[in-house]
């Protein structure tokens, strides 16, 4: 039998992985995705029946940080297996083929799996000037996305750039960068934002796609609710300090050393939906707030354009204060005019006395 045709269950047996550890993995994914425990055996069975899912992963206007995050943390575990089990027919940084050969690989996979393949995208897509600012192999990423999107069963936008435009779309957004769902509107699209995104979220999404054949339930920004339902602030281990009013005032004061809340130092945890506070990075080693830095809000749209990472959330975004100076002048002028008019009126009534 060709390796390609094995079901996931067969693949597991071939690699000598016990049903017990497979169930454990399923239970882990299920609990992280709020799937009821009673459904775990059924989920495991349907997952074991799953055949290789053809997938094409395209890198557009991006920094490869997402891929680093996804691959780095995949220790040789079941997560790794799931990731490997999807048959990644194209990923330019991971595959051996290059140039014409690589493009040929996309074309072949597209043709063979038309309507069935999963399209994974990282990086934003520039729209300005027909997308000329980001081009591979002579084709703009805009055209590439349109072409690949047409034959995809579903699209997963990996990282904040593919989801919302990301750094590429930072003001003044010279390339007109946008996220995938601004271009493709007629396909199921799932956003897994984060800069970088959490690998466990990818595993969870892929696992549930393999097991249930559909993308998981999403919020208004198309993020899987299971991982993005709570804010960082909801789950933050420093939350008690917030409630007690104990804050770090600088990165090197007593409060910072005591691990107090980072709100005053600009933490955007209260408005950021992500799972870092519970899953953490690098297999649960740490995460930004644990290492002493406020949350930047990297899984939210426009997180870089909120007037600075160190500005407290409750502070205003002033832009320029000229408008206010002008308003003050206008107010004084208005007041003077109305006073003159009233004086005239007073004079009229009193006959100038």
């Amino acid at each position: 039998m060709k390796e390609h045709d094995l079901t996931l269950g067969e693949e597991l047996r071939r690699q000598g992985i016990s049903r017990r550890s497979f169930l454990k993995f399923c239970a882990g994914v299920a609990s992280s995705m709020a799937i009821p425990a009673a459904m775990v055996p059924a989920m495991a069975d349907s997952l074991a029946q799953a055949r290789r899912q053809p997938a094409i992963m395209m890198a557009y206007q991006e920094c490869t940080g997402c891929l680093e995050s996804l691959t780095r943390s995949f220790a040789p575990t079941l997560e790794n297996l799931i990731f490997n089990f999807i048959s990644l027919d194209f990923q330019h940084a991971l595959q051996a083929a290059a140039g014409d050969q690589a493009v040929e690989a996309i074309k072949t996979s597209m043709k063979e799996n038309w309507g069935k393949y999963l399209l994974l995208v990282d990086g934003s897509i520039p729209l300005n000037d027909d997308g000329i600012y980001s081009v591979s192999h002579g084709q703009s990423h805009l055209d590439s996305l349109r072409e690949l999107g047409e034959g995809a069963a579903a699209i997963v936008s990996i990282g904040t750039c593919a989801s919302f435009g990301g750094i590429g779309a930072a003001s003044p957004n010279p390339t007109g960068a946008v996220g995938v769902d601004q271009i493709i509107t007629d396909k199921p699209i799932l956003n897994v934002p984060g800069c970088p995104p959490m690998p466990e979220v990818m595993t969870g999404v892929l696992t549930s796609f393999l097991a249930f054949g559909a993308l998981p339930e999403v919020d208004s920004l198309k993020r899987p609710r299971a991982f993005f339902g709570d804010t960082i602030h909801d789950r933050c281990y420093r939350r008690t300090f917030y409630d007690q009013g104990k804050f770090a005032d600088s990165f090197d004061d007593e409060g910072a050393r005591n691990g107090w809340c980072l709100y005053k130092l600009g933490c955007k945890g209260p408005i950021t939906h992500n799972a870092c506070a519970t899953l953490k990075f690098n297999e649960g080693v740490s995460w930004p707030i644990q290492s002493g830095h406020g949350c930047l809000g990297c899984s939210e749209p426009n997180f870089w354009d909120k007037e600075g990472f160190y500005k407290p959330l409750s502070a205003g975004q002033w832009g320029s204060a000229e408008g206010i100076a002008a308003a003050a002048a206008a107010g004084v002028a208005l007041g003077a005019v109305s006073a003159v008019m009233s004086r005239r009126n007073q004079n009229k009534i009193s006959g100038g006395k």
């Binding site: 909801d234 502070a315 205003g316 975004q317 002033w318 206010i324 107010g331 006073a339 007073q346």
Partner: protein, 217 residues
Amino acid sequence: MTLLDFARGPAMQIAIIIFVAGILWRLVGVWALRQKKDLSEARQTGAWVGGLKGLFVHAWPYKPFVPKVGAQYIIGYIIHLGLFIVLIFGTPHMLFFADIVGFTWWTLPGGVITAVAVITTLALFVALIKRLVNPVQRLISNFDDYATWFVTTAPFVTGLITNMNMWPDYETGLAIHLLSVWLLLIYFPFGKLMHSFWFVVSRYTTGSRFARRGGMA
């Protein structure tokens, strides 16, 4: 742009522009009026002392009136002190002003602020009920009185809901809280909230005029 970005950015700028222009318009407009000449002969000198006294003398009612209006005063104090404490000593609020003035100050724990906010909100509702139930007060109340009550109460209610995380999602709740504050600012110059400014003017004026005529403030 999300609702929160709108609330933190453009909505705030517009509200503050209207607030600043409106306040200055009304202050300059009144101060530049021709003052009423007092043609009577001053019965005593130092009317200004009476004016200053006037600022404080009504801080508590004249004794015989205490049973009648004492409760109203207490409610008023709770509302205004609560407003002051929540706005100045709530950490997120302090940080808003610190961003403008450039320095920070000591704040109260969130739990204390929540308690003060709950008491203040209750006092605001008591004031409203009194206004509706008392026939005289009801008769002299117009739209402005109710609008003033509403724009003052809304930030308290939305702030508490945000703090208790009772909105479907926090960032929309925070945005609604901010928008309710901007509504307060926009309404401020054009209604009875101007009493925060006129209070000093009117009490000084009344006090000094009474004093000039030889009366008590």
